[in-house]
Symmetry: C2
Subunit: 106 residues, 2 copies
């Protein structure tokens, strides 16, 4: 139809762009990214995260809520604690790639 279509290696369907932008936006906040880094490939209670990131329980809770809402992290209750973890291994790999791409000297 349009010769530009063939030249575009990246899918630019509105729906996909929206999805990706929502996820990137969720991760694109220093405190939320720090929460993700603290979690890494493990599962931690909210309390532990609060201790690591250096802000209030309320603030962490709100940011965790955003990450959960956007599907970046999962959480489950265990007794009186809520355990959080990064969604899946694929996302952990992506975080690794992000680190390499954005945190090296260019």
């Amino acid at each position: 139809m349009n010769e530009l279509v063939e030249k575009m290696p990246f899918d630019n369907k509105e729906e996909n762009i929206q999805k990706a932008a929502i996820a990137l936006k969720a991760m694109g906040h220093p405190l939320r990214l720090k929460i993700l880094c603290v979690l890494g490939n493990q599962e931690f209670p909210v309390m532990d995260i609060v201790d690591q990131v250096g802000t209030t329980q309320s603030n962490v809770s709100q940011h965790i809520d955003i990450l959960r809402e956007k599907g970046i992290i999962l959480s489950r209750r265990e007794g009186s604690k809520i355990l959080c973890r990064v969604r899946d291994a694929e996302l952990l790999d992506l975080m690794d790639a992000m680190q390499r791409t954005f945190c090296q000297i260019h």
Copy 2:
């Protein structure tokens, strides 16, 4: 020093987190992400991008400025046109990985 340190596979140095968060935030906007998808691995004048993304020249110009400022895209003048492109191949690879991670059915 602390047994948690060894358990953390992800670098959580403040400086790196800041850097990555800034980049992710820049990419985490639908219009900016669309600009990046339109660019792909090619170089295009601002005008072409405006035509593709469906908003005003002023708006595109401002978003391009943000992407440039955060080091996501590069641009150069050629005559009366400004040609834009995604920073480097590594970032293109990352965009590819982002697509896979965020745009597939999970």
